[in-house]
Amino acid sequence: MLIKKSAVIPSSEITPRSLYLNRRKFLAGAAVAGAVAAVGSRLDELATPSLTVDADAKIDGVKKSPLSTTEKITPYKDVTNYNNYYEFSTDKYEPAGLAKDFKTRPWTVTIDGLVSKKQVLDVGTIIKMAAPEERIYRHRCVEGWSIVVPWVGFSLSELIKRAQPLGKAKFVEFTTVYDPKQMPGQQGRVLDWPYVEGLRLDEANHPLALLCFGMYGEALPNQDGAPLRIVVPWKYGFKSAKAIVRIRFSDSQPLNTWNKMAPNEYGFYSNVNPNVDHPRWSQAKERRLGEFLKRPTLMFNGYDQVASLYSGMDLKKNF
């Protein structure tokens, strides 16, 4: 995968993939040499050519995915200017401005808990674990609006399989960065920081669950969760944690932030479900941004293929 500043290099000049791979081998080799000097660090971290990604960078070699919807994609301007990102602000129009200078490099992600490969990985390493795919997903906010976004990433299972969870591991917990200096919303106590989300391991391993680092063919904008987030399209948006710094495997159900804040309103599962209303508002319909009339909300946000994950469960109780 190539990630380059879009404006600078015309596509004709982009290094052919074979050449690039050779160079990459070379870089990896150089990194191996460097590893001798770096105490306690891991090979796969160092193999990262850290020169690759910045914000606004075009991501090359993105494959289309059969998991994509053909619905109309929400304009980029809306997806980048209307954000629920309480770390920056509770006002949806503010994160775009407040996140402008947010630093997403250097960035490491701690992978720990019940795994045989506990490690601290550079985000650059993570996004090269597998080939990037474009996944056009419906995204439904618990507040009753929705968007269609062409995310870029690969199945979360790719990372999970490399982390090698132990047999006891049943859940995965995702923690968002805590950095009140850069994230003004964290200076207040609206939520219990840092933001924590979680999935059952089998949910996290579902092919639809996306480890995401881009959208609209480019690196993720800061206000949309850069540099690394998850996207779980059959669940309400808040389940899709942003700016992740830690992925922990455990045998007990993580206490996700919104669940902790209002357990009767936001469950652990939070699957999109038109039949289970939020105690304060209906979930039967949603407003797709850009549309005048509300449209009916679909069970699992239309991703019926996840239904088997919940067979035998009372989804009214496990909301």
Binding site: Y82, T90, M261, A262, R280, W281, G290, F292, K294
Partner: protein, 210 residues
């Protein structure tokens, strides 16, 4: 007060609507225009309710009797904006689905309370004319118009219940309302002579203490 002042205030009160209209015309209402309209009209309803409630304390504290002449106008603007707010809701949010709307009013606490606040303002708007004041008599009119206290409280609770986590804005409104209502409680406890000293003699036409 100068003669042209009232029309100017009147036009200023239409400002929030003009701003919404202008932005809508220029496609500048952002990603979710209907939400912006709902929120803006809701905010201005509450602001006008509080401004209306501020008139009597201000008048009494400053002795500026002319203020009373603006009270009805502000109250009617609160009603004007809540009608727009409600129209946004039934038209743009529910698309005139009466069944859904009734279900919402019955089931959603925040809608129930908001609806209460709205319904209470209807008789106040109707009886805001001099004719109605005469017909009802100052005392009864005054009593009826104390419903604005309930309506404003309903408005604040409505806001409080609809936010997901960040109660700081509804809290600001709650504090202002608390001060305005607290003033009345304190004033009613003080010896009558002190608070009534500046009450105008025209109180039948424009009853105070609301």
């Amino acid at each position: 007060m100068v003669k042209w002042f009232k029309p100017v205030v009147f036009l200023a009160c239409l400002g929030p609507l003009a701003r919404l209209g202008w932005k809508a015309y220029n496609n500048a209402l952002g990603a979710n225009p209907i939400e912006v309209i709902t929120h803006s009209t809701g905010d201005w309803t509450l602001i006008f309710l509080l401004v209306t409630l501020a008139i009597t304390p201000l008048r009494k504290l400053t002795g500026q009797l002319w203020l009373i002449r603006y009270r009805r106008m502000f109250g009617l603007f609160a009603f004007f904006y809540v009608v727009l707010h409600f129209l946004t809701y039934i038209w743009l949010d529910k698309f005139f689905d009466v069944h859904e709307m009734l279900a919402d009013i019955a089931k959603r606490k925040f809608i129930t309370v908001g609806f209460t606040g709205f319904v209470l303002l209807i008789p106040l708007a109707i009886t805001s004319t001099a004719g109605w004041i005469r017909r009802l008599g100052g005392k009864r009119w005054q009593l009826l118009h104390q419903l604005i206290y309930v309506s404003a409280m309903a408005g604040v609770v409505h806001y409080w219940w609809l936010v997901k986590a960040d109660v700081h804005k509804p809290l600001e409104y709650a504090v202002v309302l608390g001060v305005l209502l607290g003033y009345r409680v304190v004033a009613s406890l003080l010896p009558a002579g002190r608070t009534r000293a500046t009450a105008p003699t025209r109180s039948v036409q424009l009853p105070d203490s609301v």
